[in-house]
């Protein structure tokens, strides 16, 4: 009973503190979830990271509305920048341009000549034969 009274007293003295702490913690929870996602080998854009960071920012703003202080103002500024950065990274910087090249469905694969890992030549003629081909262009060791 005494504990309850003490907690309630702290909440009255520092209204919105829980929102502030949770709001600051949330963006890092999003990043932690992404670590698990990669470990689970799911290669999807983690849109939840900027979304969760934005929810966190809303909580920090709520905390500021409940009680104003320099620290809360500072937290709003920093976490606005952080959430904004995440939206720019995921919404702009990670975009891949649409394919506009010469490979078109129901048309022959374009001519090319390159090298296989064993050093042998590999051309469009090697695509013709007894097997279908799935050609995957990958970026480095991802």
């Amino acid at each position: 009973m005494n504990d309850l009274k003490q907690t309630s007293a702290v909440t009255r003295r520092h209204p919105g503190r829980l929102f502030l702490l949770l709001g600051m913690l949330l963006p890092f929870i999003g990043i932690a979830i992404y670590v698990f996602q990669v470990q689970a080998k799911i290669l999807r854009t983690p849109w939840y990271i900027p979304v969760i960071a934005t929810v966190g920012l809303a909580l920090i703003i709520l905390a500021l509305v409940q009680s104003r202080s320099v620290i809360r103002w500072l937290a709003v500024v920093l976490f606005t920048l952080f959430a904004g950065l995440l939206w720019v990274v995921f919404g702009v910087m990670m975009n891949v341009p649409e394919y506009t090249g010469p490979v078109k469905v129901e048309q022959p694969f374009p001519s090319f000549s390159t090298t296989l890992a064993d050093g042998s030549k590999f051309t469009e003629d090697n695509l013709k034969g007894d097997k279908n081909t799935v050609m995957v262009f990958f970026r480095g060791r991802w």
Binding site: Y99, E106, F112, A117, F137, F138, R141, W142
Partner: protein, 112 residues
């Protein structure tokens, strides 16, 4: 390498569809040989001069680390006659088709 690892793990599913998986990047011969060792059922192309990457125009200028030009993640399905049957380009650098989605693409493009 999650993407290649998943393709390698499912090589028998590709084999059932009479398809081989050719993986292309601008790795040099030495790196490509290592990739081939790591993923023995994939056909690894060492396109260091970007000859194939340029021929099919999949270069993503400044898309790699430190602004390096790299191949944009793109998948083509080609039949035994060398005709293109399917094409997919990811919208985001860190997103990829899962092996199951590639297999579905093969089924849809070539007919199961």
């Amino acid at each position: 390498m999650i993407e290649l690892g998943e393709l390698e793990k499912n090589y028998d599913e590709f084999a059932k569809r009479n398809a081989r998986v050719v993986v292309v990047s601008d790795e040099g011969l030495e790196d490509a040989q290592q990739t081939q060792k790591d993923f023995p059922h994939l056909v690894v192309v060492a396109d260091a001069d970007k000859k194939l990457i340029s021929a099919v125009e999949v270069l993503h200028p400044h898309g790699g680390q430190h602004g390096k030009d790299v191949a944009a993640p793109t998948t083509f399905v080609i039949d035994k006659q060398g005709m293109v049957k399917g094409r997919y380009r990811t919208k985001q650098v860190i997103a990829r088709l899962s092996a199951k989605e590639v297999l579905d693409m093969v089924d849809a493009s070539l007919g199961k």
